[in-house]
């Protein structure tokens, strides 16, 4: 079971909001400081390790840029959304950000609620309202990568890329 304080976002939250274009060539630390600077300035100072993002439809629409890495580096513990953009989902898998689709989630949580995510029962619960929602199961081989720090450790283990000190 994972618990996270909820930060709510709407529909179609795009990659450029999470990782603005001018920051594409900056360090991942600088990128993590730029998350939501155009739509929610100051959020990066408020979010705490283990917090949860609750999003609407098509969370992460847009580009292949590593926006999921920035969200992970902000300390977000998990992300739930009505639907998740396919490309953002790939990056979530590859950078080790736990991100799941959960129909109804945006109506079930208010900002500041606690979200309880159970990825064995595949449920998300709001203890304030006692409402429990079904979470769409992430296929096992992808879940292992999400929880195991992404694809970089897999490629290192198989001798395909050289290890590097620090995070990818």
């Amino acid at each position: 079971m994972r618990n996270g304080r909820v930060w709510k976002f709407g529909d179609n939250i795009n990659t450029d909001l999470m990782l603005p274009g001018p920051y594409l060539y900056r360090s991942s630390e600088q990128q993590a400081r730029a998350v939501f600077m155009n739509n929610r300035p100051g959020w990066v100072d408020q979010v705490q390790t283990g917090d949860a993002i609750v999003g609407g439809f098509n969370y992460g629409m847009g580009s292949s840029r590593p926006a999921a890495r920035s969200i992970r580096n902000c300390g977000v513990g998990f992300l739930l959304a009505e639907t998740i953009n396919g490309l953002f989902f790939r990056n979530a898998v590859n950078y080790g950000l736990l991100a799941c689709e959960c129909p109804g989630v945006s109506g079930a949580f208010e900002e500041g609620d606690t979200a309880e995510l159970d990825i064995e029962a595949w449920t998300a619960r709001n203890p304030r309202t006692r409402q429990t929602l079904k979470v769409s199961q992430v296929p096992q081989q992808l879940l292992e990568m999400m929880l195991g720090g992404g694809v970089y450790p897999v490629l290192e283990r198989d001798g395909l890329i050289a290890p590097r000190v620090g995070e990818p």
């Binding site: 179609n12 603005p20 001018p22 580009s63 639907t83 694809v151 890329i161």
Partner: protein, 421 residues
């Protein structure tokens, strides 16, 4: 039950008889395309093994020629990587330069019936070549280059049956704006285009439509193959390929009919193209600071021809910047030979070298605070082309060129009167 085009290609590349929506398909990748951005030190790692260098393409496109030291360093890393592993298809700054999706089309690197991955989101562009192509992230590219494989969650498919033909002055961009306005996002879904209407569409027009599928958040976007495509690929790429039609009893989530003869020129309002298209009359007269034609979707020779036709013998409005970026240097050269570049320059346009450039807010046309731009490029997100307070309208190259002349959003209808479809 039968399979859609995308399902058939994934099944073939995965060595299985069938894939269905909900499956995770693990497939052999025929073509892996790395970009300048792929070699950013934050994401790139020292590669110890490449599965098959002949299946890797490297195309520098986002920031070329390098406007920053870091962009230069990325390309330096990429060149060294190509040399170390004997990757011959390197498109460096120079005559073979271009935006990856357009280079892939120019050279027919996208092979019908195969799988292609690329580190840029607009990769479904290659679906015009009957190729299952998807934009992936940097780590996916490391995975594909080193293992030769990729995984995909198989989504359901929406089939569009196109009939009829576009009227003069109406383009594939308007087909896209119609679909985006009417049906909106296609999250976790594939798009399949077919029907009698596709045969009258050039490969460039088809590619505009597939490229823009990214903006619908589609997974794979793919066209049926036809003789036009097969002859084009045969003339340019000696590798074997596998034109793939859907099964007669393919299962679609939905089939939608589009009569191309009814399409009107449209404009997408700023910030998103999803359910955001309006007729030109609704926004005509809004003042613009910049007009842009370019990117992977609309820097084709056809697009440059249309732009040149609209501005022929006319002048860009005072106080308006008109920037045109061909998708590849090969297109740039062809446009010079055809006289389009001269015509555009005589009208007061700037024609740049081929790069993602202004579309990605990188360089050569970045917008300042509160500026207004009308663009025939890929994306109109807030902040996409520069300052977040800038407003980006999206339209066809004809509409953008007409707007550049007027200094405000304007339709191009008058420039095509008398044409027959």
């Amino acid at each position: 039950m039968g399979m859609t085009i995308t399902e058939k290609i994934l099944a073939r590349a995965g060595g299985v008889s069938k894939v269905s929506p909900g499956d995770v398909a693990v497939v052999d990748v025929e073509t892996s395309c790395l970009l300048d951005l792929s070699f950013l030190p934050e994401g790139w790692r020292k590669v110890l093994k490449v599965a098959d260098p002949s299946k890797v393409v490297i195309i520098f496109d986002h920031l070329v020629p390098a406007p920053t030291v870091q962009a230069a360093e990325c390309m330096k890393t990429g060149r060294a990587f190509a040399k170390e592993f004997g990757i011959e298809r390197l498109h460096d700054v120079g005559a073979n330069q271009g935006i990856s999706h357009a280079v892939i089309a120019d050279k027919a690197y996208a092979l019908p019936g195969t799988v292609l991955v690329n580190a840029d989101s607009h990769t479904c562009s290659a679906g015009a070549f009957n190729c299952a192509a998807r934009g992936v992230g940097g780590p996916d590219m490391l995975y594909a280059v080193t293992t030769g494989k990729a995984w995909f969650r198989v989504g359901e498919t929406i089939r569009y049956d196109l009939t009829g033909a576009l009227r003069p002055g109406v383009s594939a961009k308007d087909i896209f704006l119609t679909i985006a306005g009417k049906w909106g996002a296609h999250v976790n879904q594939n798009i399949e285009y077919g029907g009698s209407g596709i045969h009258g569409m050039s490969l460039n027009a088809r590619r505009t439509l597939t490229t823009m599928g990214t903006e619908l958040s589609a997974e794979f976007v793919i066209f049926e193959p036809d003789d036009t495509l097969i002859e084009y690929v045969q003339a340019r790429n000696p590798k074997p390929f596998f034109p793939t039609m859907p099964d007669q009893d393919a299962v679609y989530k939905e089939r939608r009919a589009v009569d191309l003869g009814t399409i009107e020129p449209l404009v997408a309002l700023p910030d998103t193209v999803v359910n955001n298209s309006v007729g030109i009359s609704e926004v005509a007269g809004r003042k613009i600071d910049q007009a842009f034609i370019g990117a992977c979707c609309n820097g084709t020779l056809d697009d440059l021809a249309v732009a040149a036709r609209v501005v022929q013998g006319r002048k860009v409005a005072a106080g308006t910047r008109f920037i045109v970026t061909p998708s590849t240097e090969a297109i740039h050269r062809a446009a010079i030979q055809a006289g389009y570049v001269q015509t555009l320059m005589d009208a007061g346009a700037i024609v740049t070298t081929a790069t993602c450039g202004a579309c990605v807010g990188g360089h050569m046309g970045v917008l300042g605070p509160d500026e207004v731009c009308i663009t025939a490029s890929t994306r109109n997100f807030k902040g996409r082309m520069g300052d977040p307070s800038a407003r980006i309208y999206m339209a066809s190259p004809a509409t953008v060129a007409a707007s550049a002349l007027a200094g405000q959003i304007a339709g191009a209808g008058e420039f095509f009167q008398g044409d027959v479809s």
